[in-house]
């Protein structure tokens, strides 16, 4: 599969290297080249400097051909905007969006984005662990 990942933070870089190991064609986009240090030396994919809410940058990242677009920058709004560009302008078949704010996550999920709120997931995980121990 061809995958475009926006945001090369801890999650973005890790996801990129895992998918790369599995043999997928991965491109990572970030507006800070320093963040590419997180990619392992063995990484075979492409690391591209650019802003993911800019349609030109997304085109350079090959958004017109990708099967999946994943937005994992620190900003909820940037993730939401880039995912909507991917879905509504470039018709990417699958678009995944990280949204920390649970309320915003619910709203955009209702609007048809595939969303994940790490806040919700992690709180739930901790709750299960806490209550499981007791």
């Amino acid at each position: 599969m061809k995958v475009l990942i926006m945001g090369c933070g801890r999650v973005g870089a890790r996801l990129a290297s895992l998918l790369d190991e599995d043999g997928h064609e991965v491109t990572v986009l970030d507006n800070d080249v320093y963040s590419f240090r997180r990619l392992p030396p063995t990484f075979n994919g492409a690391a591209l400097f650019g802003n993911g809410i800019d349609q030109e940058a997304l085109k350079k990242g090959g958004i017109e051909e990708v099967d999946i677009f994943v937005a994992v920058t620190q900003g909820d709004n940037r993730n939401v905007m880039s995912c909507q560009i991917a879905k509504h302008i470039f018709n990417v078949p699958r678009v995944m969006c990280r949204i920390y704010d649970p309320l915003r996550e619910e709203m955009y999920s209702a609007l048809g984005l595939e969303t994940i709120s790490p806040t919700k997931v992690f709180a739930q995980l901790l709750r299960e662990k806490v209550e499981g121990e007791g």
Binding site: D54, Q55, D76, N77, Q84, H88, I89, R104, M107
Partner: protein, 220 residues
């Protein structure tokens, strides 16, 4: 009208002042406590400290009864999300977003933002108007009717000079509204009206046939 302005920067601040002067009920949402304090000190309790992209903050300030939300922060993504939350969570009937990147206009409209304002486009339009040789100026965009109003000048070299309106190959959907001659008073054109050099023509057309209309009037 109750109008919520998201972003208390220079643009939001001046918007707030102007809207208050016009007698509207206005509230600014601003994240930065210092900016909020400056506004409150000067104009009273018209600034609420909070994130205008959060549904909870918008609920606190009674967005449900707002007639309009105007998002004028410096970041396009924040303005988009603020308008979307207002629309989908609080049913605000009109949303307006400032955009820094003019490319975002189509996306925002597609995603339900009613009006977008781009400084780049406004300055470009001003340049079009200021440069006298520019053959075509956009006067107005009627989004809902899907029409634009334009102003075309018939240059002295145009091959359409001397032709009657009915003999111009105008696109079907385009209508000539007014002809302002180089000398004399404006007139509403009929089929028989003959074009002269330096006529200024006001026309209405769908954006798609704008080029064809321009070509017909300039007689390329």
């Amino acid at each position: 009208m109750y109008i919520i302005v998201v972003g208390g920067g220079r643009l939001g601040y001046n918007l707030l002042k102007a809207l208050l002067n016009e007698g509207h009920e206005v509230l600014v949402l601003e994240k930065d406590p210092r900016i909020c304090k400056t506004i409150t000190d000067e104009m009273g309790s018209v600034c609420h400290r909070g994130d205008g992209c959060e549904a909870a903050t918008l609920a606190e300030v009674g967005t449900g009864r707002a007639d309009m939300l105007v998002a004028v922060t410096g970041d396009d993504e924040d303005n988009l999300v603020s308008c979307q939350v207002a629309k989908h969570k609080h049913n605000v009937p009109r949303t307006i977003a400032r955009i820094r990147n003019p490319q975002n206009a189509d996306l925002f409209k597609k995603l339900g933002v009613d009006v977008t304002v781009s400084a780049t486009d406004i300055i470009l339009e001003a340049i079009e108007r200021e440069v006298p040789t520019h053959p075509l100026t956009h006067l107005l965009t009627l989004d809902e009717q899907h029409l634009v109003m334009i102003d075309v000048k018939v240059s002295p070299e145009s091959t359409s000079i001397g032709k009657a309106v009915k003999d111009l190959s105008l696109p079907k959907e385009s209508k000539l509204v007014l002809i302002i001659p180089g000398e004399g008073s404006p007139q509403v054109p009929s089929d028989a009206t003959v074009l002269k050099a330096n006529d200024q023509i006001i026309a209405v057309t769908p954006p798609e046939t704008e080029e064809a209309l321009k070509a017909a009037l300039r007689g390329k």
